[in-house]
Symmetry: C2
Subunit: 87 residues, 2 copies
């Protein structure tokens, strides 16, 4: 499946969350990652993020797209990251 | 269609971008908004954001989902905003 991950976490945990998410997805722009991921890796990533974040303070949203057939992505302005431009 | 909008813009334009996007979508978490939007309003929002941002510095991504039938949203940690909790 295709995943869009957005995080809004305390600054003290940003680096850890970003580092973990980048093991599975690619960085798109500040606080946003996306990519194809297997069901197994999705669960693994979720579990690992749950261990890193503080559930009373932080928020991570994962949008799961079972198909990207009905999805478009439009970028206004700068293309910061993405699959063709992994930072 | 359903839109997920994520922005990564210079701090001097954050308030303007957020204010504009909230006229059409609802705030979900820091730098993320989503919601149902008509084709006409989508174009209007895009045009208005293009006028606000600096294309050499800022980035706004709009994911368009023609259907949410194949999409799930999973929140890890705090639910900050959303349709049931408009800030």
């Amino acid at each position: 499946m295709f995943v869009i991950l957005v995080y809004d976490v305390n600054v003290s945990r940003v680096t850890k969350v970003l580092k973990k998410a980048r093991q599975y997805l690619y960085w798109v722009q500040n606080s946003v990652l996306e990519g194809e991921i297997s069901e197994a890796n999705y669960k693994k990533l979720k579990m690992e993020l749950e261990r890193i974040i503080n559930k009373n303070e932080d928020s991570v949203i994962m949008y799961q797209l079972r198909t990207t057939k009905y999805t478009d992505r439009e970028i206004i302005g700068l293309r910061k990251g993405g699959q063709d431009n992994i930072i």
